[in-house]
């Protein structure tokens, strides 16, 4: 019964946000909430790999970036409408997630973490060096269209907000389903005790790669929306420090805890947008907050509530 109420409460909040924000908030707030939805999705996708499957992925911005660049390149070079690029971005990111993780999932703990940092750096270099002449170098790609639906361009910030919020809703639903499926359970088995899981017939390598692919695919979808929100992409949005932020969101918020991860995203991405004037202090304060929170609440601010079925 309890499970049902919390799901409904989440749904209710989501609907409220969807309806009320465009009605009552000004453009700046609509923009911030759109921006939040995107980073909430990326954070949830980071959580799939880190919080649920227990793999120390500190290069998650790569997959976010691959999605964003896929959309930008398809739209500017081949004129593919933004929303059509969404499934392609998901598939391309997921493929990269699988390909890049395949050789490294056997690495444990810190070694995996360092390897993923390496991927992030190589990815960033590739973008900056304008690899294949398609990424636009340090300035990235700009002049990207607004998304259109049924031939009607979604120009207004309210429209983009609704679009982003719908993706967030879908991802929240997927996360909820994940909890109640074999896939989600296997991730937890692998996280808690890989050896015990494999002796029960779990193909650890397959599921670890799947976790990366799933996380990457979801991040790729967020990448598409990021591109359409800002109508530009550049390497600076997908650097290693972004991955660090995503990593911190999951650990500070609470691993495998949807409210925790969303709260983390609010702290790291919404708060700085609100207090732009204090921008220079923000990372200093974040750094301090990360230490203090970890010392006081090593499990995160809103740790996963044990729902034992």
């Amino acid at each position: 019964m309890k499970k049902l109420t919390s799901t409904w409460a989440g749904l209710l909040l989501w609907v409220l946000g969807l309806l009320l924000v465009p009605l009552f908030a000004d453009n700046n707030w609509i923009f911030i909430m759109s921006y939040f939805a995107i980073y909430a999705v990326v954070s949830l996708s980071q959580d799939v790999v880190l919080g649920r499957a227990g793999m120390y992925d500190m290069g998650h911005a790569v997959y976010f970036g691959i999605g964003a660049y896929t959309t930008a390149i398809l739209n500017t070079q081949y004129g593919v409408p933004i929303l059509w690029t969404l499934p392609i971005a998901v598939v391309v990111s997921a493929l990269f997630g699988a390909l890049l993780s395949a050789p490294i999932v056997k690495l444990r703990g810190d070694y995996l973490l360092v390897a993923t940092i390496g991927f992030n750096e190589i990815f960033h270099m590739a973008l900056v060096n304008d690899v294949g002449g398609i990424t636009g170098g340090p300035d990235g790609i700009y002049g990207i269209e607004a998304p259109s639906l049924f031939g009607h361009q979604i120009m207004s910030q309210g429209g983009i907000f609704v679009l982003n919020w719908i993706l967030l809703g879908i991802v929240l639903l997927l996360m909820n389903n994940l909890e109640n499926s074999r896939l989600g359970r296997v991730f937890r088995y692998l996280k808690e005790d890989e050896l015990a899981a494999t002796t029960l017939g779990v193909n650890a390598r397959y599921y670890k790669i799947l976790a990366f692919a799933l996380g990457a695919g979801i991040a790729g979808a967020a990448g598409t929306l990021f591109t359409s929100l800002l109508q530009s992409v550049s390497p600076g949005a997908f650097v290693f420090t972004e991955s660090v932020t995503l990593f911190a969101i999951v650990i500070v918020g609470g691993q495998a805890s949807i409210p925790g991860v969303l709260l983390g995203a609010v702290l790291m991405f919404v708060v700085p947008q609100v207090f732009r004037d204090l921008a220079e202090y923000r990372y200093f304060v974040f750094g301090l907050a990360m230490i203090v929170i970890m010392v006081l609440r090593p499990q995160g601010i809103l740790p996963r509530r044990r729902r034992l079925e």
Binding site: L13, W14, L16, G17, L20, V21, F24, A25, D26, N27, N28, W29, F31, I32, M33, M125, V128, N129, D130, G136, G137, P138, D139, G140, Y142, G143, I144, M155, Q157, L229, L230, Q231, S232, V233, S234, G236, A237, P259, L262, L263, V266, V270, Q273, V274, R276, A279, E280, L302
Partner: protein, 376 residues
């Protein structure tokens, strides 16, 4: 639960915010500039210049009777941050945006300002900025192509260099300028013995310079930014490379000489004249005001070209007696010989600045510039 709280807070704050933004009797100018990061020096210069101009306007009773307000957004010189700034400033209902310094950040912001019907003036020199047909965009510095033509002539005809090495970073501005110079040199019949790239901000350029050295050039031309240019020059000397060093416009910043140290002396920079070398009355007045307000001189000419961008917009508002961006833009497209700080100026129908002459100037031991080309 927290989501609800955020929502309530969001609604509450946003109601408060929109009230202030809509305050009557003010006109808001936005500054989009790299206030932190690698090019912070330039960004802070632009912000200071705009605040100075706003103060001067307000002291005289405002613009068409409205108080001039300035809001700034730091784009860190990065494209994505530029787009974020564009969203942020548009949402604060700015009338015009001054800046930004890097072409990438300017380009990423362009479509967003265009959609929001906001005037934009930037010193970004990448060619494509004026090629998208954005009616409200005005470039306040000359484009790469003009600079490259002058540079090619200077290197081949003026200095008779026989072996030229061209270095760039990968930004659209630097790569574009480097490619254009490469082409201009060849057009003049010169010989490019090396064309290479650096990673902006990576500090150690000895590897690439060692490779350059093996090509035995008599000049190294660098089309990137001052922060890398100064280091390149200093490391060139550490490696005993005897080639001259010529830098593109983005090397003209007081920091260049500080970074290069003693090696700065003799370096040549190609740009429109440096602030202290401007002969115009407007320039002398503005520099004096800037110095009395901030206790220092502007970091580079781009502080002044952006100030000119803003002055031209102000002039157009006063002339048309209107805050209609389209009317202002129409006026600006026909503007000729407006007495700018950086010389008489105007804009063509693409928003390209008219009227600026390039010079090559050499850094002197005291850090000042001496014009060495054209010689007359």
């Amino acid at each position: 639960m927290f989501k609800l709280k955020t929502l309530v807070a969001a609604t509450a704050i946003s109601l408060g915010m929109s009230a202030t933004a809509m305050a009557a009797g003010t006109v808001t100018f936005g500054v989009q500039a790299p206030i932190t990061g690698q090019y912070a020096n330039e960004g802070q210069g632009i912000e200071k210049a705009v605040k100075l101009l706003a103060k001067q306007l307000n002291d005289k009773g405002g613009l068409l009777g409205k108080t001039v307000k300035v809001v700034s957004c730091d784009d860190e010189g990065k494209a994505t941050q530029g787009a974020l700034c564009a969203r942020n400033l548009s949402n604060q209902n700015v009338f015009a945006v001054i800046g930004t310094y890097t072409s990438g950040a300017a380009g990423a912001a362009q479509p967003i300002y265009a959609r929001a019907n906001i005037l934009q003036t930037s010193d970004g020199t990448a060619e494509q900025l004026t090629q998208h047909g954005y009616k409200l965009f005005f470039r306040n510095a000359p484009p790469n192509s003009a600079e490259a033509k002058f540079t090619g002539e200077y290197l081949v005809k003026g200095k008779h260099y026989k072996r030229i090495a061209v270095l760039s970073d990968h930004s659209s501005f630097s790569k574009g300028l480097g490619d254009a110079v490469d082409e201009a040199v060849k057009k003049e019949g010169g010989n490019v013995v090396f064309r290479g790239y650096i990673n902006a901000g990576s500090q150690d350029y000895r590897s690439v310079l060692t490779t350059v050295k093996s090509k035995n050039p008599d000049v190294i031309y660098f089309s990137g930014y001052y922060s890398d240019g100064g280091l390149l020059r200093s490391q060139e000397k550490d490696l005993d490379i005897n080639a001259d060093f010529v830098g593109g416009d983005a090397n003209q910043n007081v920091k260049f000489a500080q970074i290069a140290g003693q090696a700065a002396t003799g370096t040549v920079i190609v740009n429109v004249p440096a602030p202290e070398n401007l002969p115009y009355k407007e320039a002398k007045d503005f520099l004096a005001d800037y110095k009395s307000m901030y206790g220092e001189l502007p970091p580079s000419i781009f502080t002044l070209t952006n100030a000119d961008g803003m002055r031209a917009i102000v002039k157009a508002v006063e002339a048309t007696k209107s805050f209609d961006p389209n009317k202002v833009a129409d006026y600006l497209h026909n503007l000729r010989n407006f007495p700018g700080i950086t010389g008489p100026m105007g804009f063509d129908k693409h928003g390209e600045r008219l009227g600026s002459a390039f010079q090559a100037f050499e850094i002197q031991p005291d850090g000042s510039y001496k014009t060495v080309y054209p010689t007359h």
